[in-house]
Subunit: 225 residues, 2 copies
Amino acid sequence: MRTAFHEQLEGLAASIAEMCGLAGASMERATQALLQADLLLAEQVITDYEAIVLKAAAAEERAFSVLALQAPVAGDLRAVVSAIKNVADVDRMGALALHVAKLARRRHPAKVLPEEVNGYFTEMGRIAVDMGNSVKDVVLSGDPDRAAQLDDDDDDMDNLHRHLFNVLMEREWKHSAASAVDVTLLSRYYERFADHAVEIARRVIFQVTGEPAGTAPSASTDDQP
Amino acid sequence: MRTAFHEQLEGLAASIAEMCGLAGASMERATQALLQADLLLAEQVITDYEAIVLKAAAAEERAFSVLALQAPVAGDLRAVVSAIKNVADVDRMGALALHVAKLARRRHPAKVLPEEVNGYFTEMGRIAVDMGNSVKDVVLSGDPDRAAQLDDDDDDMDNLHRHLFNVLMEREWKHSAASAVDVTLLSRYYERFADHAVEIARRVIFQVTGEPAGTAPSASTDDQP
């Protein structure tokens, strides 16, 4: 029998899933803003982040209501606390898209990136959007296969991040140190975006199956270059 | 009358406070390891992080027990959820000290930093340790004045972070791009460490007073350079 509790939990999952989609869309726009020095798009990401913050606050209030009114225990309690943590992670994903957009705005009308690294960020942006969509699906479906795909995407992101650092560190970097600083921070923003998506997916899968998802703790991916 | 609930909540605060102290001590050692290319000290920070992770897991379990057994509502419920979030932030502080230590280890026996920026990191390390101790006190005392001091420390950290980027970006950076990458990431680690300390302090003060502490949302400090 479906209970009021489970309906509320599903409502909470739906709003977290929506936020995941929004964070992915923001990172997509932020990447465009970055690559094309598009000020309007950057401004839109910056404005849209406010909506993510409001949705995060609303989702958290929703979780509080469930805890206060239903006083869940055991697995049900963990599911709600897990949702509260997911809200924090997805809010952070939105904040990282915001950081990308703000850097694009700060350097406008100049482009932030030297031509030769555009390809890396095009690809990192594409992966970030995919991950936003995948984690949205995982939150809604609890599908472990879809979650496993997020781990693969995260590996791809880490590889790009590492390669990019190699470009900066091992070859002759022909551009300014200023430009190296921007590229370093941007690469870190994408990599952290992916980490948070993986965190959410793992938390959902652990909630569904009782088994840790993936092969490595997320901390290992947060340790680049 | 003191209730079992409030005793449990105090126990939880005590373990979070302990973790804050440990994270500060780790950042102190990591800074030494960084400045002196001290491999043993770096290894110690890396090992010590495991203890922080275990304590975080234990504190979270403790919070779950309180929720499950006491089913608190209203302010009491918020206090426990707030504690769970504080655990996540202090764990992250430990992870950031770990990142500093790992970078020191990766470059050993070379020093990571060019001589001319040592002073910045000495000072950032000093502020980080102070903030670890201050946030420990805030968690135990709920003292708004002590929390306000954390905001000042965070401003100092942000200023150092900005100045350091100016060194990298505006003057002639005589060192390699590789070195600029390391300095950028390190500076970001210290700055984020400070942000998490401020997050915890603000959450505690909001819990105690019902009023937001400080003058600006933490997001504003997480937006450098």
